[in-house]
């Protein structure tokens, strides 16, 4: 569209990178979720909705919690680890595009948007880490 006159917000490079990050993040997350569902079926021969404690993501610091989930140090099964990893990738997709925006506006010396995006990033980071 930009070649036909529309410029969006005028930040073409940022828009292109955001588009790529969003598409790649969602595609990777959905592939992991589908793979996790298949692994779960192979392991348990059931696709019933489970309310077992192992099926819930629960913790006080998102980043520490997810590190444990992915590395398997919390004792979860392979299928659960893959499902959790898919959710991690999904959660990190909009987070990553915010980090990218902060870096972009810093590099462009656009202080207004550097602080606006930094505020959003700070709110998200605090909410993910400090409960």
């Amino acid at each position: 569209m930009v070649e036909r006159g529309g410029e969006g917000s005028g930040e073409t490079r940022l828009e292109t990178w955001i588009s790529i990050v969003l598409m790649a993040g969602v595609a990777a997350a959905l592939i992991l979720e589908a793979w996790g569902i298949a692994l779960l079926y192979r392991a348990s021969h059931s696709l019933a909705i489970s309310h077992d404690k192992a099926m819930f993501i629960h913790g006080r610091n998102f980043f520490i919690l997810l590190g444990r989930r992915i590395s398997g140090t919390d004792g979860s099964l392979g299928a659960v680890r893959v499902l959790a990893l898919g959710i991690v990738v999904l959660i990190l997709t909009p987070y990553t595009r915010t980090v990218m925006s902060v870096v972009y506006f810093a590099s462009r010396k656009n202080l207004k948007y550097f602080f606006i995006t930094l505020f959003v990033l700070a709110v998200l980071t605090i909410s993910l880490m400090m409960h």
Partner: protein, 274 residues
């Protein structure tokens, strides 16, 4: 899980056609099938991240969604979503049925005509907050074959409206897309296409803020989130592809029918649980 996956695909499809998003329809369906309301809301928020990020990718690439306006408004929606999600973890589930039904009624608010062809270059007021915040842009309209310039009005009022949208989204596990579009069209005076695509872009971030609260409350169930995320995203992508081929009146009838059914079910559930 397989049933939920299969249900999520048509739900994501209808959600994309009506503009309601998959979560608004899926949550009442899950409650109908016996999933606890708080678990249904928390898991649906994750599917909002998936569907929003998937469709926003195309809108940003096509320069329809305005990333600067979105980032400005995200300051308000992210804070609202955290407050909303925190309220949900604290209040009795019965109230959520009524809040859900009441909030869906805001979907019936019709938009006023937005103001196009206004941009900061034609304004003498360098003191204009909207221009100072660079809340303007342009896009190529395929229908009229013209470049449309726009500028957001009332940025403070619009921000407050978006905080309410974020609060409702975090509280009810939905994207609150219809309400966000209404705020952007009526308060910020953005063109409809910019309002709906920018709203979609913001939804993912708002949902993420809400998800963070549910994460710590232990309400995120992997066996619910996985099939919902996969199903609604597939459905939403398919819905987005046929959207432009369907006639407006048909979409309005579908929207009206779906919203009325959901409101009736949620009010009934609320009364039954009282």
């Amino acid at each position: 899980m397989l049933s939920l996956l299969l249900i999520s695909i048509p739900v994501g499809f209808v959600g994309a056609l009506t503009g309601l998003g998959g979560a608004s329809i899926l949550i009442p369906l899950m409650i109908f099938f016996g999933i606890p309301v708080k678990e249904a809301i928390a898991s649906a928020m994750v599917s909002v991240v998936a569907t929003s990020s998937g469709s926003a990718s195309a809108y940003v690439r096509e320069r329809l969604a305005n990333v600067k306006i979105a980032m400005y408004l995200e300051m308000f929606t992210s804070v609202g979503a955290i407050i909303g999600a925190t309220i949900t973890t604290l209040i009795a589930p019965v109230y959520l049925y009524f809040f859900f039904a009441a909030f869906l009624m805001t979907s019936f608010i019709r938009s006023e005509t937005s103001r196009d062809d206004v941009h900061c270059q034609g304004l003498s007021g360098s003191g204009d907050l909207s221009c100072r915040l660079e809340l303007e842009g342009s896009y190529f309209d395929e229908a009229t074959k013209q470049v449309v310039f726009y500028r957001a009005d009332h940025p403070v009022l619009g921000g407050m409206g978006m905080m309410v949208a974020g609060l409702a989204a975090g509280m009810l596990g939905i994207g609150a897309g219809a309400f966000k579009v209404t705020v952007q069209e009526n308060l910020l005076k953005l063109p409809t296409k910019v309002a709906s695509t920018t709203s979609n872009f913001i939804m993912g971030m708002t949902a993420l803020a809400g998800v963070s609260v549910y994460l710590f409350s232990g309400l995120l169930n992997l066996t619910l989130m996985a099939p919902m995320a996969v199903g609604t995203t597939i459905g939403a992508v398919a819905g987005g592809r046929v959207l432009n081929r369907l006639k407006g009146p048909l979409l309005r009838v579908l929207f009206f029918a779906v919203v009325v059914c959901i409101i009736i079910e949620m009010v009934y559930k609320g009364i039954a649980s009282w």
